[in-house]
């Protein structure tokens, strides 16, 4: 990997549960000031917190450029609804939507729905991959130019440009087509945390962005290499996969030195990694990992969003921009453009026309 690859930065704006719109809007705007690629909002049925996709839909008209990536779980939800909601987030944000696919593994979550029992992670991630797959097929089920408004024949759509998906998964089937026209990005961006073994295969196969939790640049590079090899095995161009290192960040009091014994580097923190230090230390850390080509960038989870995100934007990001390591403005309008990912062509169009797909 070349060290000149653009650096991508994203931040989680969750933290302690908040139910009003104001705090989420303020954090997303702050991240947008720092020209971050996207904000994530974590979600789960297992602990207090609002519906993340709803929150980011509320944030969308109050922001203009930043990508919006809610966590959406795939275990107890309807794949058809998931696809519709993510496509709609893309419509209301004018092409800034993504979603982070996740699973609900506990029996406690299963009891909230009463439809099925808890299942092993491998089965749930296989299903999550199928949900990502059918979601993308539904986004493609309308060709971009399906709406014709042809007054002469009285036809609003060209029905030959609408396609059934006829998807048969292991636990569900979907007939299609989507009820929502193809969203502005073609496919909203799919994000998966590919750290755990069962998640890696669906991440390599279906995700545009993969978050990995690594404790060293070498481990991150090894994970990224594994993901790219798997992606290639599925016929994907591995260069279209963005791998971001997930880092939990505690910038504490910016004036104090890192806590003795921890250094300024990451340490294992539960399933992920943890960084404690000042904004300048974080900039050094990001620079070192990115320059080595281990990862395309970082997904930062501030321990205390209101405090730490401000330090990330005004300290770390400002420094990275000063060193010309991170952009100072958004060159495009959509999340795909921020990430340097092309707008995908619809895959189902070829089924009905003799034109070769570009």
């Amino acid at each position: 990997m070349s060290a000149t690859r653009p650096l991508h930065l994203a931040a989680e704006i969750g933290g302690p549960p908040r139910y009003d719109a104001g705090s989420h809007v303020a954090l997303a705007r702050l991240a947008e000031q720092g020209t971050l690629d996207y904000v994530t909002l974590d979600d789960s049925f297992a602990r207090p917190g609002p519906d993340a996709l709803a929150v980011l839909a509320r944030v969308a008209p109050a922001t203009t450029r930043i990508g919006l990536v809610p966590t959406v779980t795939t275990t107890h939800t309807e794949p058809f609804h998931v696809s519709s909601a993510v496509a709609t987030l893309d419509w209301v944000s004018k092409g800034r939507a993504g979603w982070q696919a996740d699973v609900s593994a506990t029996e406690a979550e299963a009891r909230l729905f009463g439809r099925r029992s808890a299942a092993p992670a491998a089965a749930l991630w296989r299903e999550a991959g199928e949900v990502a797959d059918v979601g993308a097929r539904l986004w493609d089920s309308w060709e971009d130019d399906a709406e014709i408004r042809d007054v002469a024949t009285g036809r609003f759509v060209d029905r030959d440009k609408l396609h059934y998906v006829d998807f048969e998964g292991g636990t569900f089937s979907v007939r299609g087509p989507a009820i929502v026209p193809r969203p502005p990005q073609g496919h909203p961006v799919t994000v998966i945390d590919g750290t755990s073994g069962p998640a890696r295969e669906p991440a390599a196969r279906y995700a545009d962005v993969v978050h990995v939790r690594a404790t060293s640049p070498e481990q991150a590079e090894s994970l990224a290499g594994d993901l790219r090899r798997r992606a290639a095995a599925h016929g994907r161009d591995p260069g279209t996969l963005r791998v971001l290192a997930a880092l939990t960040v505690d910038l504490g009091d910016a004036e104090t030195a890192p806590e003795p014994g921890l250094g300024s580097g990451p340490r294992p923190a539960g399933p992920g990694t943890y960084f404690r230090g000042g904004p300048v230390d974080l900039a050094e850390h990001i620079t070192r990992w990115h320059r080595g080509g281990a990862v395309d960038g970082f997904h930062l989870t501030p321990i205390a969003p209101e405090r730490d995100l401000e330090r990330i934007v005004n300290g770390t990001v400002a420094l990275l921009q000063h060193r010309s390591l991170f952009r100072t403005f958004y060159p495009g309008g959509t999340l795909r453009e921020h990430l340097g990912l092309a707008r995908p062509a619809g895959r189902l169009a070829a089924a009905s026309t003799s034109e070769p797909q570009s």
Binding site: A54, A57, R58, S84, G114
Partner: protein
């Protein structure tokens, strides 16, 4: 009087061929209509839902508007660009689960500071079910059984946090749902989002009387409205409810002109746009259940009978008694010497208020004064400017006469509707 705005839907009411017609999917369209409704001090903004594209004769129906967004996501975005307007989502109780939907509705209520509403609809439709894990499992007779338990379960979840913000475990064990755990969202600003119910059947009326805050209906004349109003309000007492606890709001269209004559002329033009030659044949096929594409829309009605067992139309409710409807249409056509297209135009008109602003304001006021409605859900025929004229020209007259509010007096949808906050049942 209560007023709501319906975003133009995917049916032949919506005239997409008009040069003023804009996108049915861009957010700017939703924003325009919602801001217009709020400028007019409307109670709420209303979105319909369809979970499968309609089919006609085995193929996707292509004459009317196709494609719309997911309701709750759009409404959350609209909460950012409006301050007071209620935000009502139609969401199916058949192809959703109480825990997830109650959570999404409570989230909208929080993010909009108390403006959320849920229009409960049901489906027994295996056709729609083909898009869902659930499939088409529900018998028609069980639709309201599930819907009633669904609403009751959602309310238990909304009440599982105490008003002072403590989460308590819930358990619901019933024939439809057997669930337990902890809800992730505290009690929302309205306590419970407003519940709307659409449907005129006996079951639907009973469900609304027992459960809903608003009933979205369609009725024709003043007299039909009065009969419906008396019937539904009369059902409330046995559930311990007062007449003012359920607002009756028919969906209506309005056509304006500078004079009554000009409005009638405008209405005729709109009807001709809504019932194009292609749409006339299609409407006929929906009753007859047969392929009638060989017939001339300007010619007479077919002399063959409808096929009562037809599945020609998928994804919308078919007329209950096609033979009777066909007989009525045929009688009308013969009595007046009407072509297919003219017959459809005359037979499928919805309740419309047509006239000058003064006439329309007086008519709307009369319907409310005579107990035919508590208010109206206005269904414009144009996206997104279809209510501009109403808000600019009719609302000020309603405000001058005191029939409709000049300013919002509260901030929540419940306060606009004059509905009490639900008592917490911990």
């Amino acid at each position: 009087m209560h007023l709501a705005a319906h975003f133009p839907g995917v049916n032949s009411t919506t005239v997409w061929a008009d040069p003023r017609s804009r996108s049915q999917i861009d957010f700017s369209s939703f924003e325009h209509l919602a801001r217009t409704a709020e400028r007019g001090r409307f109670d709420f903004f209303f979105l319909a839902e369809g979970l499968r594209l309609r089919e006609h004769n085995g193929r996707i129906h292509d004459l009317d508007v196709v494609g719309r967004p997911e309701s709750l996501t759009v409404l959350n975005a609209l909460a950012a660009v409006t301050d007071r307007l209620g935000l009502a989502a139609t969401v199916n109780a058949t192809f959703n689960e109480p825990y997830e939907l109650a959570r999404r509705l409570a989230t909208l209520d929080h993010l909009s500071a108390g403006r959320a509403a849920w229009n409960v609809v049901t489906s027994s439709d295996a056709f729609t079910g083909e898009n869902f894990r659930r499939g088409g499992y529900l018998d028609r007779a069980d639709r309201y059984t599930r819907a009633a338990e669904f609403v009751a379960t959602a309310r238990e979840l909304w009440d599982s946090w105490t008003p002072d913000g403590t989460s308590r475990p819930f358990t619901h064990s019933g024939p439809q749902f057997d669930i337990a755990g902890e809800f992730t969202v505290p009690r929302s600003p309205q306590g419970h989002p407003v519940v709307i119910q659409a449907g005129d059947s006996g079951e639907g009326r009973e469900f609304a009387a027992s459960t809903a805050d608003v009933i979205f209906t369609r009725h024709g004349t003043l007299e039909a409205g009065r009969t419906f109003y008396a019937d539904v309000k009369g059902r409330l007492a046995k559930y311990g409810r007062q007449p003012e606890d359920l607002k009756i709001m028919p969906g209506v269209t309005v056509v304006l002109g500078d004079t009554d004559a000009e409005a009638q002329h405008n209405a005729a033009e709109i009807r001709a746009q809504q019932v194009s030659p292609q749409n006339a044949i299609l409407a006929l096929e929906q009753v007859w259940g047969r392929d009638l594409s060989a017939y001339d829309p300007d010619g007479p009605l077919p002399d063959i009978d409808p096929d009562p067992a037809s599945s020609l139309v998928q994804g919308r409710v078919r007329v209950a008694d096609p033979l009777a409807v066909a007989a009525k249409w045929r009688a009308l056509s013969e009595a007046k010497g009407l072509s297919i297209r003219r017959t459809v135009i005359e037979s499928t008109a919805r309740q419309s208020f047509i006239g000058s602003p003064v006439t329309v304001a007086a008519e709307l006021t009369r319907f409310v004064a005579d107990d035919a409605a508590d208010g109206f859900i206005l269904v414009p025929h144009l996206t997104p400017g279809g209510l501009d004229g109403f808000v600019d020209r009719v609302v000020p007259l309603l405000q001058e006469s005191g029939a409709f509010r000049s300013e919002y007096t509260g901030s929540t949808l419940r306060s606009h509707l004059g509905l009490a906050e639900p008592v917490w049942k911990g």
